[in-house]
């Protein structure tokens, strides 16, 4: 509809990130009704899931940034969401992600989150960001580490139940050591013969 928040489209090697649309809601709802959402306030009933989705859209209008819907570039299928999150009560701007449970293990969260962080740093002038992660959410902690984040034990948390992972500052994130490492890993995932070892990770 008109006056929809003007959301930039971000393209990566395998993905296209667009604003959340009403038609993407069933995929969002399926994940937030599942155990996968346990570290993000879920599982939610249908009312709660719809209200959260509406809040995702409202966040874009109010803040001018928010969570993108992550689509496959070729098929348009949705894989999850990634972007920025800064509701009231959040001490700092957060970079967040969620991948639908049956799409994990392909490096989509890494590829999408790397792209949105670059967008915030290079296009929107963010000087830093954190990710608030449940200490039991090992997949997300591992992803934060692959993105070059370090645990910040001094930083304020949302409610004391979350750990703060601080993203590298823009200059550091743009350096070869971090960026080349992330892009090499993404390149491995893009290789159809690549089989990651161990448990599926995002």
């Amino acid at each position: 509809m008109s006056n929809y928040p003007d959301i930039p489209v971000i393209e990566t090697r395998r993905l296209v990130l667009r604003g959340p649309e009403a038609g993407d809601y069933p995929d969002f709802k399926a994940t937030f009704a599942s155990y996968r959402s346990r570290f993000m306030g879920g599982p939610l009933n249908s009312y709660e899931a719809w209200m959260l989705y509406a809040a995702e859209i409202g966040h874009w209008a109010i803040r001018g940034f928010g969570m993108w819907m992550v689509h496959d570039k070729a098929t348009d299928e949705t894989y999850g969401m990634a972007g920025g999150w800064f509701p009231a009560k959040w001490p700092e701007h957060e970079i967040a992600w969620i991948i639908w449970p049956d799409k994990a293990g392909k490096g989509y969260a890494l590829e999408a989150t790397h792209a949105v962080r670059r967008h915030f740093y290079e296009r929107q002038g963010w000087e830093g960001a954190v990710s608030y992660i449940d200490p039991k959410n090992l997949d997300s902690i591992r992803l934060a580490e692959r993105l070059g984040c370090t645990k910040d034990r001094e930083a304020p948390t949302i409610d004391g139940n979350d750990a703060v992972y601080r993203h590298p500052a823009p200059a550091v994130a743009a350096s070869g050591q971090i960026r080349d490492g992330i892009e090499l890993e993404i390149a491995h995932y893009c290789d159809p013969s690549f089989r990651p070892k161990g448990m599926p990770i995002d």
Partner: protein
């Protein structure tokens, strides 16, 4: 700056307009007032209250309708909210209203809800509307009846629990109680 494509609706004393950033604090203050917001669904913390404001904006984008801010023309202050509400799990699209502290007893909710209902019927093409009211919320029941609505049934609301459903007169009626007397 407008956060939605909501129109501005005029009444003698009020302007109904889409939610704007300057409404965030008055809305949060209302939602954190346990006593006042009980019938609407109070928030236990500032984060949840902010999220409600954001999801109302999203509601407008998804449905093309939602809660308007009721602006008191004389003072320019937000006096409450009214509009059409229809999240997933709701029994039917609902006409809702809330008046903020300091704006009660002046018929503001009646004047605003009547205008929102007219908009839903004439501009959105709704053919019927309901209002969901918590048992014991006598003020809201009185206003629903003053708007010509009648008690239809009791049901379990996915969010509010046991709830009363009031049915409004349709678009062809003039909306006054007298039309149903």
């Amino acid at each position: 700056m407008s956060l939605t494509a909501a129109p501005v609706l005029d009444t003698p004393r009020l302007a109904l307009r889409g939610p704007e950033v300057r409404d965030i604090e008055p809305m949060i203050a209302f939602l954190l007032d346990r006593e006042r917001a009980e019938g609407f669904g109070a928030s236990t913390n500032r984060g949840d209250a902010w999220r409600w404001f954001a999801l109302n904006v999203g509601h407008w984008h998804i449905h093309g309708y939602g809660y308007f801010t009721i602006e008191d023309k004389a003072s320019g202050a937000p006096a409450g909210i009214t509009g059409i509400w229809n999240p997933e799990g709701w029994p039917e699209p609902e006409l809702g209203w809330v008046v903020f502290d300091g704006f009660e007893g002046r018929g503001i909710a009646h004047e605003a809800a009547l205008r929102a209902r007219q908009w839903a019927y004439e501009d959105l093409g709704f053919t019927t509307l309901t209002s969901n009211i918590k048992p014991g919320n006598t003020r809201s029941i009185a206003l629903a009846e003053r708007l010509g609505a009648w008690f239809e049934r009791e049901y379990d609301n996915i969010h509010m629990g046991r709830d009363l459903l009031y049915r409004h007169p349709g678009p062809d009626a003039d909306g006054s109680v007298e039309a149903y007397a």
